[in-house]
């Protein structure tokens, strides 16, 4: 029950945050020196045509009216135009893309599996790689192994992921042709193809992101291994492996989880670059397209969706955190 109340509170504050983000987006895009309707006007375009399209898309309204219509659409749905030629976007309407002739919710539903496949696979991989190497380095502290891993991790942290991604595409897809150079196939259509297309982005993202986790895990493990409770466990005759992997690791994972939550959120922002590098059509590509095409409704809708994901990811991490760490009463801000 307390968890429910807590989630309720978090959701309430998240709604506020999301409204603020919406406001910010509208403010920014109202400042754009462009009328999105112009791109849908056709060639050649007459002023009458332009005003007809603007009226249809609602871009002739002041920004607050547009924003209100947008927000209202989320709850009540909305209709563009009237009569037989009207386009209906039923609730929850996150907007409608006239460029893609698709409701934003549908676009997100189409694109999200791509982004999620990249993100989840890469995240799982890098968590495993990062934590494993971090623990290893901590156990081999100040040895050659430790120094090598640390050195590699600095390299990993320093390498811009998009550059490495591009190099990987050039090396493994274009020159060596081991992997496809990009694209995505549905898991349901072709599981092997799905895996085959995802391996390269996963590896690139995982290896680079793991570097940060190696460092944090190592520091945390060293810290935890010097804690008093480790000595207590030793005094009981608990085997060293249990001490490392059960006692110390469990505690060391706590800050790692916090970092993981933040990074999961960041993944979506980073998806813009990843998906460009690996020619995948996920949410990031959708966002990038929507900005370059001034598809305001898609931009707002997809951003809101991304923001919700970030918030949900953090909420999950917080809940997991309080499950893992009994000292943290749920809802205590860290």
């Amino acid at each position: 029950m307390r968890i429910l109340a807590y989630i309720g509170k978090r959701v309430a504050s998240s709604v506020l945050v999301i409204l603020l983000i919406t406001l910010a987006l509208f403010l920014i895009f109202f400042l754009l020196p462009t009328n999105p309707a112009q791109l849908s006007c056709g060639k050649p375009c007459t002023p009458e045509q332009l005003s007809r399209v603007s009226a249809f898309m609602g871009t002739d309204q002041p920004w607050y009216v547009q924003m209100w219509n947008y927000v209202a659409g989320i709850f009540a749905g909305r209709t563009f135009g009237s009569g037989g030629g009207a386009v209906v976007c039923s609730a929850p309407c996150l907007g409608y893309s006239f460029r893609l002739n698709e409701s934003v919710s549908q676009l997100i539903a189409d694109r999200f599996p791509v982004t999620a496949s990249i993100a989840v696979g890469a995240a799982v991989l890098w968590l495993i790689i990062g934590v494993a190497t971090g623990v290893w380095a901590a156990l081999k502290r100040d040895t050659l192994v430790d120094r090598t891993l640390l050195g590699l991790s600095v390299v990993g942290v320093s390498a811009p992921s998009y550059l490495i991604g591009l190099l990987a595409v050039i090396a493994f897809a274009l020159s060596a042709q081991i992997f496809p150079s990009g694209g995505y196939v549905n898991f349901s259509d072709d599981p092997v193809g799905w895996l085959y297309h995802l391996i390269l982005p996963w590896l690139v993202l995982a290896v680079l992101s793991a570097a940060g986790y190696t460092r944090v895990t190592r520091t945390q493990m060293i810290g935890e291994l010097s804690q008093d409770y480790i000595r207590t466990a030793r005094s009981k005759g608990v085997p060293e492996s249990v001490i490392v992997f059960k006692h110390a690791l469990r505690n060391a994972m706590l800050p790692v989880m916090t970092m993981f939550g933040l990074d999961l959120g960041g993944l979506l922002g980073g998806a813009v670059l990843t998906e460009k590098v690996f020619s995948m059509q996920g949410l990031g590509a959708l966002l990038l397209d929507s900005v370059t095409n001034l598809d305001l409704q898609v931009l707002v809708g997809a951003t809101l969706f991304a923001a919700v994901l970030v918030i949900v990811a953090n909420l999950i991490v917080d809940i997991c955190y309080s499950l893992l760490d009994p000292r943290v009463a749920i809802g205590t801000r860290r």
């Binding site: 791109l39 007459t46 002023p47 135009g81 030629g85 893609l100 791509v114 897809a173």
Partner: protein
Amino acid sequence: GCGANGNGANDANKAGVTGGMLTILTSATEMDLDPAKSQGLPITSNGNIFRRLTAWKITEGGETKVVPDLATTTGEPSDDGRTWTYTLKDGVKFEDGTPITSKDIKYGLERSFADSLTGGLSYHKTLLEGAQDYHGPFDGEELDSIETPDDKTIVFHLNAPFGDWPWVASLAGFTPVPQGKGPASGYGKKPVSSGPYRIESNEAGKQTVLVRNENWDKKTDSVRTAGPDKIVFKMSQDSSVAAQSIMQGTGEGRNAFSASTVPAAQLAQAQANPSYKKLLTTSSSGALSYLAINTEHVKNLKIRQAIEYAIDKKAYQTASGGTIAGDIASTLITPGIAGHVDYNLYEADPTGDVDKAKQLIKESGEAAPTLKLIATSDQAELASSIQTSLKRAGITVNIQTLNSDVYSDASTNDKGDYDLVISGWQPDFPSPYANISPLFDSTQIGNGNYNQARYNNPKVDALIKKATETINQTEAGKIWAETDKTIMADAPVVPLLYSKNTFIHGSNVTDFIIGQFPAYPDYTQVKLASKN
């Protein structure tokens, strides 16, 4: 035909086989195939799916002609050139086997007037009588200037004589849509086919698969060869990566071509390797690359003329990738289009005449200006090149690179907030009208239109009107040539290159033909040399 560099590919262009799977790699992320919204050329993606009243006949090295497609002729004009009549062929059918009627063509055209279906080529919208107040067929209204006296006949009433109407009738808007079948939204995912292929699947961001339309009758079609059994459009392909994989030729690369032109780097790479060079096909001089000077900002003619002289077109050519990227230009109407006459009002070395430019600036009585140049981010190198050459004459250029759509908005909106803009123009059909009018008619300023020089000369407007209304094409050609020179005398743009497009195709791809116009391969003729 193929340009100088593409000749090596010719032996591959022997007639291919029927069958096999052709892959087309495209950087597009989705394919919205709604004909009402399409700006596509009749010979590319749309061409294999839709038929229109007229079609383009592309021949290697020959002039591109307008030929009848669904109709029996390219159109019968009335004497005043304001009424055009077409009769449909017998035996033309939709993919479901129902015959195509004139009502279906009328319905397809009417759809393009719906507010939700804008964005396509809209030449017909300004020409058809009473079109301003028409909002599409979805509320039961009809457009009276299109008459369908019977199922075979369709008559168009224009508000002015228009000699190029047969070309207009080849554009996507004239695609038949089964009456009442194309809804106000969502039709573009899987429209009803009338051409040799129908859409099997269309997944945004991934691929669109075309398979044979069994109800298409080859006998009724004089342009489409329908070689492959299956055509797959692979979407969101980076053009460099696509070119690379076609060069490597493994997997689908052998049976594929890239819908994008070959980027400079891959062009250099392919030219350096004989076996890759064979895969290139270069167009003859095509679209005009130009630097538009905002005449509302740079009002002084002498300054504009100084710019004409100061530009180093040679450097621009180099920055575009060398001679393969195009020939140095001096006129507005490009070679390959009737009305093109070679002349150069600002005779100078290809690297420019800096002294002349400096002198003109002196004569202008103004200081050398500081100008703002906008370009897409892909054109950064080109912009830098222009910046460097104008610097020689003391003209300072500030560059703003923009994302392509932001750029196209910024360069075509009502504000005109720039002094210079790098641009290119490929006419929608091969007529001087489509070459000159969109760029220099004063009605084409702002609103997303392409008079980027914001050039407003009543004399030129009158010449354009006169040429447009001249039905006799030879007569018209002369007037267009005069218009060309008249405009250049005002120096609203600097013609830079008659750019050539180079495309790359897999070693098993043949009949990869680029006509004199447009500078794009004709998808409707491409075949595979062997079935796999």
